[in-house]
Each structure stands twice: as C-alpha cells, then as structure tokens.
Amino acid sequence: MTALVLRQGLLGPTARRLLRHPSFVLGAVLFGTVVVLALAAPWVTEVGPNRMAVRLRFQPPGEMFLLGSDNLGRSMWSRVVWGARLSLLIGAWVVALNAVFGILLGLLAGYFPRLDGPLMRLADALMAFPAVLLAIGIAAALGPSVTTVIIALAVVYIPRTARILRASVLVVRELDFVQAARAAGATDGRILRRHILPNCMAPLIVQLSFVFAYAILSEAVLSFLGLGAAPTEPSWGILIAEGRSYIREAWWLTFMPGAAIAVAVLGLNLLGDGLRDVLDPRLTVERT
C-alpha cells in the first residue's frame, strides 16, 4: 500500500499529506534552515571562521557579534555556520553509506535464507555494543580523522538499518505479486529490484532520517573526545570541546554550537516522526 502511494510520485497525495503534517513541516523548516545556512556559509557570514581579532575576544552575543566571539576574537556565528558544513557532511556520508549497505545487506538477508543466519548473527554481535561506545572504539583504533568518524558511525548504524530492511523484505517476499513475478520467470535480481525494494522503501526512509540525527549527535561526542576532525576545521563537536575550557568566562562558546546541534537534530526527529506517520502508518500507534 505504501508503495502504491510512493509510486504516484512526490507531488501526489503523499506530498500533500506530508505538507499538512505539522511535525513534518516544522521539522523540515528547522532542518532546512540549518542546511541552507550551511550551504550559504560564505554569504551569510561577514568574517571567516578563523579570522582572529584578539582585541575583540570574549565579546558576549550582541550587536558586534551575533553569537559572541571566542578566546581569539573569532566570530562564533561564523564558526557555527561553517561548522555546520562539516557536521552535516559527516551526517550525509553516514546516511549514504547506510542506504547503500543497509539496502544491500537487508535485501540479501531477507531474501536468501542461507545468508540470513550469518548476517543477522553478525548484526546481533555488533548491536550488542552500545552504539556510541562501539563507534568510540572503532574511531580510537583507526586514529582521529573525519574519515574515521564516518566509517565508525556507518559500521555502527548499518546493522540497524539492514535489520529494518530485512524485516520488511521478509513480509513482502511472501506477497502474491512476488510469487506471480517468480512464476512468470523473473530472476532474483529483477524481483529484488523491481518488486521487493520499492515496497520496502518507506521504513527505510524513516530510518535514514533518524540515522542522520544520530550521526550528528554521535559525531559531536566523538569530536568532543578528540576522535574527530582536526581543530583547524571545526565541527560542532570540536567547537563545544574548545569552548569547554572557557566555560566560566564565556558560556556562549559552549552553548551556541550545542544549540545548533539541538536545532538540526530536533528538526530531523520531527521530520522522521512525520515521515513515519505518513509513509508507514503500520508503524504508528501514536496518532491513532
């Protein structure tokens, strides 16, 4: 049923229902604002994120600096907006890797019973570790860098995504139209691509919106612990870590990047809730 809705295109009834869904709209506005500001960083900031003005250090938020200035007189507004680029980029990479490998492994495990056992045992073992802790372990082993963070977070969340896709595949696999396609002589590849995957997209899209939110939160944790990007290229997590040393004199150094994380993650969570309600009514008990 969800696939029928999806196939009518994004300008069909699904889009209209999404646009009428208050939490989806609010979430899209919040997250969209963050994305637009990040993309428009050179145009919405007057000074670069690393432009120092030592005489203007520790200016509180106000006329001179919208979000205040840091210990070297750098504009926090500029640092937070430029930091959004790195944080969102990491999140987007994690989502992309999750989509590719989550789909691949979920389809394999759900469709081929032979592969299901081994793949799901491996997923169970990876999921036995608390998500953030496993990411910390992987990142600590690989050494600090942006790539490390992306790999660590992808490895942690892919089993979760694959599991969700597998669950839908198990259901769809048994439906009549799949049997009919098989009877008509369709190959496994075609059945998976044309008949199963499109009918499993709804839960996947919902999951990916939440993965984006988790990735932004976890990136901040890893960077805060010194496992992420180099301080010269600040992500939100690094900005919080830097501000921590001056928390007594200048609360805004810590507060502003965290607030940016909160807006982005809140937006994604609202968006995900809305998508879940509209795309996948079976998953929703909340709004009935």
Binding site: R121, L122, D124, A125, L126, A128, F129, P130, A131, V132, L133, L134, I136, G137, I138, A140, A141, L142, G143, A213, L217, A220, V221, F224, L225, G226, L227, I240, R244, I247, R248, W251, T254, F255, G258, I261, A262, V265, L266, N269, L270, D273, V285, E286, T288
Partner: protein
Amino acid sequence: MAAYALRRLLQSIPLLLLVSLIAFGLMKLVPGDPAMVMGGPNATADEIDAIRRNLGLDRPFWVQLGAFYWNLAQGDLGRSLLLGQPVGAAIVERLPATISIALYSMGLTLVFGLSIGIVAALRHNTIVDQAAMVIALLGVSLPNFWVGLVLIVLFSVQLGWLPTGGYVAFGDDPVGWLRSATLPAVSLALLQIGLLARITRSAMLEVLRQDYIRTARAKGLSEWKVVGKHAFANVRIPVVTVIGLIFSVLLSGSVIVETVFSVPGMGALLGNAILRRDYPLIQGGLLFVAAALMLINLLVDILYAWCDPRVRIGGDAR
C-alpha cells in the same frame, strides 16, 4: 520459567564469542604498528619492543587469538598499559561510581518518563499532551554532554548550588553523593526520559482503547484504579523491553558525562584510555560493557517472559 531462563542463557554464549571476536578485531584495526602508536613519539626502540612483547604482538595472529580467548575464559581482560594494572580490576574498582549514577539516572528516568508518558496519553490531543511530547522530543535531540555543560554553567557557575564536578561515594557522605551525582544523573537521564515517555504514551494510548478498559470504567472503578491497575499492567510489557535499551544508552553516555563532570568511574576510565591510546583498556572496557549489557538484556527477557506468559510458552523470545 527456569527452563526458559536456561535456554536464553545458552543461546547467548555464541553471541558472546562473536562479540569478543569483534573486540579482539578492533585492536587489529590500528593502522601500522600498534606498539609504536601506544608508545608515543618519544618511545625508544626498546620500550616499543617491550610493549610488543607484553601484548604478544610479536606472535602469529592465531596464537594471539588463542591466547586472547584462553585469558578471557579465565576472566582475564588483559593489562592496562598506563595503569600497569589488570583491566578487569581497574574497571571493577571504578564501577561503584558509575553504577550509583546509573541507578540514580534510571530512577529519574522511570519516575519522569512514565509519568510524562501516562499523563500525555490521558490528556491525549490536548495542550498538555503536546507540551509533554515537545519535552520528550527535546530530550532525545539534545547532546547529553552539552546538557551537562549547560547545567554546570547554570547550577555551578551562576547559582553556585552544586559542585562543577568530582564525586563523593554514597557510603562516605550521602548528602555529598547527592550533590555530586545529581548533575551527571540528570544529564544522562534527559535523553532516556524522552525515549521512555514516547514509548509509554503510545503503549498507553493503545491500551486505553481496549474493551476491557471500557468495561472497567463502566463498572464504576475509579480512574486511578483503571489506569493504575488495568491499563498499566499491559503497558509494563513494552516498557520493560526498552529498559535494556536505556541501560545501553546509560553505559555509553557515562563515558562522556563522567569525562565532563570528572567522575572517577568506568566511563571516565574509558575516556582516558581513548585519549592515551591504551588499547588493552579500550578493548577490555568495550568487552566488559557489551557483556554486562547482554546480561541485562537476558534479565530483561526473563522479566518480559514473567510479565507475558505467551513469551515463555511460545519459545523464541524475540
């Protein structure tokens, strides 16, 4: 019931073996020579050799793997490079602080998560419901270490009510413990309160629509009895299932929250191990947490079976 518990215990053994293999494999991810990374840039060739011999890195892979499992079977998680102390002992020493804060946080989670969820469900689609869900959603959207820092600014720096960090053992001074544990516990609890409130609310809404609730109301039971006794009995089940998840979030959150509040617990120990590249400690710590979590999930499953007879008769727990 006992048969069910035993079966679940046996089922978890292969998983534990796989989990420990992953923990072992993590060490093998270290690019280049782990001994050199651990020794740091100022280590002499002799020191690096010593580290290598110490960890058995000079031996073939299969021998290392065998030794790892052999030691594990004897409860030996290896030896920390920096502390010069067995990893197991180092963790156990720091466990009381982590557990006491975790339990405190769990208490806050249960009290606030359940009551926010229940109130929201009872006042469904009113402003109360919406406000409760906004709070719950904020809870799952804020980074917990950042909440910790904001709480420090508010309650320690500005108001001066609570200490900025440190930890007093409950046995030494209960009031001091309460003062030192409150901010860490609150910053850990926030996320889970949001989680639990959302789940409680949806479970409660589901239950409140059932016929037996209408019957209970129709026969004139007080609202308190209907909600507290008849409805809550069935809300218990989904709530019990998330307890495992909540503990998982608690344990991973402790690494960063204990670092922020300088609590000398297991989380801060792991945080330090990461900063100083103490791989045996990282590996042992991860394995310990994963095993503890598996045990908690096992207990949750048993509790679940106890709440819901269908599970123990049906066989497979999931």
